[in-house]
Amino acid sequence: MTPLNLLSRQLIGMVHVRALPGTPRDKGYFEKVIETAVHEAVTLEKAGFTAILLENMHDVPYLKTKVGPEITASMAVIAQEVREKISLPMGIQILAGANEEALSVAVASQAQFIRVEGFVFSHIADEGFIDSCAGKLMRLRKELGAEKIKILADIKKKHSSHAVTADISISETAQAAEFFGADGVILTGHATGSAASAGELTEVLSRVNLPVWIGSGITANNISNYIKAQGWIVGSSLKKDNHWDNPLNPESLKRMVSSFLSFSI
C-alpha cells in the first residue's frame, strides 16, 4: 500500500459506488456493487491515476451528515475489497457530509484520506443546512488513534448556497480550514462536472500553506488551467458522455492521464 504524499501531485480518480443496500436506487445485488467498485478502482490504477476516492454517489437523495450502519458497513466492505486489489492511496467520502462515518470506514479499511464537506463555517446544500464538523471530527480522529488519515476539506463546496457566508472570502474560508487542522483544501465549481475558478485557486494558494486540490469539472483539456494545484479529483469526465452515472470510458482515462503527465513530471 503506497502512502499518500500530499507534497507530490496527485491525480485522484473517483469510484462512484453504485446504490447501497436500503437506498432508493438499490437493486438488491450487493455483490455486484462490490465487483463494479473493485473493477473501476483497478481500471483507474492501471490507467495511471495516483490515488482513488470511493464515494457513495448513487445513494440519492442523500441523507444529511449522518448515515445508517448499512451504509457504513457496506462502504467498509467495499473499501476493504478495493484495498486488497490495488496498492494506490485510497480515500473515502460518504455523502452527504457523513464525515464521521467516512473516517470510520477509512480506519477499518486502512485508507489514507477522507474528503470532508462542511469542515468549517456553514452552507446550505441540497440536503439542507450544513454546519461545521471540524471540532467533533478532529476529536474523533484523535480518539481513534487515526491522525495519519488526512482530512481534505471542501471549501465553499459545489451544490450549495453560500449566501450565509457572503462576507467571507474563499481564501478566508481556506485559512479557517487550515487553522482547524485540515491537511488540504478542495476547490470546486458550482456542481459535479462544472469547473472551479482558476482565479480562486491563485487567491487561495497565496493565503494558505496547504495543498490545494481541484474537486470538480476537471477534463483533459482544462487541467492545465489549474497547474498550480497539488491534486485533481476527476470523476464525470472519465465516464461515457462525461456523465457520472455512466461507466468508465477507457479513451477518456488515457487522455486524462496523459494530460496530467504532460505537466506533472
Partner: protein, 281 residues
C-alpha cells in the same frame, strides 16, 4: 410442537435447524470474541493485530470442527446499551468480510449490547447468515441500564436493506439482566416468536461461561413454538451431552479458551466437538 407426553414421560423432538445453513444436527457455533475495537477504552492501537487475532481464532475453531462462526465486539467494554458508533460498525464489517472470505462456514454477527440493526447491516454487507439479538422484545434491566427491545425497527430495517434471509436468533431472559416485570416464560416466548419474528431462541445462564438452568431449558423447549433452541452460555465438555437432549444447537466461546482474553485452543474445540459428534451418530 417441540415435545409430546406419554404418561409421566416427556419426549422431545430434535428440530431441524435451518437445514440450508447447518449441515450437521446439533450444530456448534464458535464465538469470535473481538478484542477492543478503535474508540473503545481498551483499544490497544493496532487494528492489524485485532484482525490477526480474530483470524487465528477462526482458524482454530474451523480446525476443531465447529459448524459455524459468530463475531462479537466482546472487547468493547463497557458496552453501549443500543446503537454503537460508526467505527465499531466499520471495523466489525471489515473483520466479518475477512472471515467470510477465508472460511466457508456460516457466519453470524452479535453487536453488544443490543444493536440488532447494526448487526443486520454488518451481516448484510459481509454476506453473513444470522444475527444474535439479546433483547428483541420486551424490556430488561441490564448492566447497561434499562434496554427496550426494538423488534419493530429491527424487522422493518431487515426488509428495507433486502436482508430477509438473514436469520434472527433472540435470547430469552438473556444473561447479565433481570426482567423488569417477571412474566410467564410461555408468554415471553410466544411474543418473541410470533409478534417479534425470532427465527431461533437462545437460552443462557446468568453470565458468560455460566451454565443454563436445566429446568428453564426444559421449559423453553416445551414452549418453543417449533423454533430451534440454542444454548447461549456455559456449554462445555462435561455438560454438552446432557444439554443436547433439549437443545438444538450450541453457541460456545469461553469453554474453548483457558481465560476470556486468551486465544482459542484447538484441542479444547476438538474435545467438545467430538463429544457431540459421537452423541449425534
Amino acid at each position: 410442537m417441540g415435545f409430546f407426553l406419554t404418561g409421566d414421560k416427556v419426549f422431545y423432538f430434535s428440530i431441524q435447524l435451518h437445514p440450508q445453513m447447518f449441515k450437521q444436527p446439533k450444530p456448534i457455533i464458535g464465538m469470535l470474541h473481538c478484542p477492543a475495537l478503535p474508540g473503545s477504552p481498551n483499544y490497544a492501537n493496532s487494528l492489524e493485530n485485532i484482525y490477526q487475532f480474530v483470524l487465528n481464532d477462526a482458524s482454530a475453531l474451523a480446525a476443531g470442527g465447529v459448524d459455524a462462526l459468530m463475531i462479537e465486539n466482546y472487547g468493547d467494554l463497557p458496552f453501549f446499551p443500543d446503537s454503537v458508533p460508526s467505527p465499531t460498525v466499520a471495523c466489525l464489517a471489515s473483520i466479518a468480510r475477512k472471515i467470510k472470505k477465508s472460511f466457508s462456514l456460516p457466519l453470524g454477527i452479535n453487536v453488544l449490547r443490543n444493536d440488532g440493526i447494526s448487526a443486520l447491516a454488518i451481516a448484510n454487507a459481509a454476506r453473513a447468515q444470522f444475527v444474535r439479538i439479546n433483547i428483541l422484545t420486551g424490556a430488561r434491566l441490564t448492566d447497561q441500564g434499562i434496554i427496550n427491545g426494538k423488534a419493530h425497527e429491527v424487522l422493518r430495517f431487515r426488509n428495507r436493506i433486502g436482508a430477509r434471509t438473514i436469520k434472527i436468533f433472540a435470547d430469552i431472559s438473556v444473561k447479565y439482566s433481570s426482567p423488569l416485570a417477571p412474566r410467564h416464560l410461555k408468554n415471553e416466548i410466544e411474543e418473541t416468536v410470533h409478534r417479534s419474528g425470532a427465527d431461533g431462541l437462545i437460552v443462557s445462564g446468568e453470565a458468560t461461561g455460566k451454565p443454563v438452568d436445566l429446568k428453564t431449558l426444559q421449559e423453553v423447549k416445551t414452549f418453543c413454538e417449533g423454533k430451534p433452541i440454542w444454548i447461549g452460555s456455559g456449554a462445555n465438555s462435561q455438560n454438552i451431552l446432557e444439554l443436547s437432549q433439549y437443545a438444538d444447537g450450541f453457541i460456545i466461546g469461553s469453554a474453548f479458551k483457558p481465560s476470556l482474553d486468551a486465544p482459542i485452543e484447538v484441542n479444547r474445540v476438538k474435545e467438545i466437538c467430538s463429544k457431540l459428534n459421537r452423541s449425534a451418530q
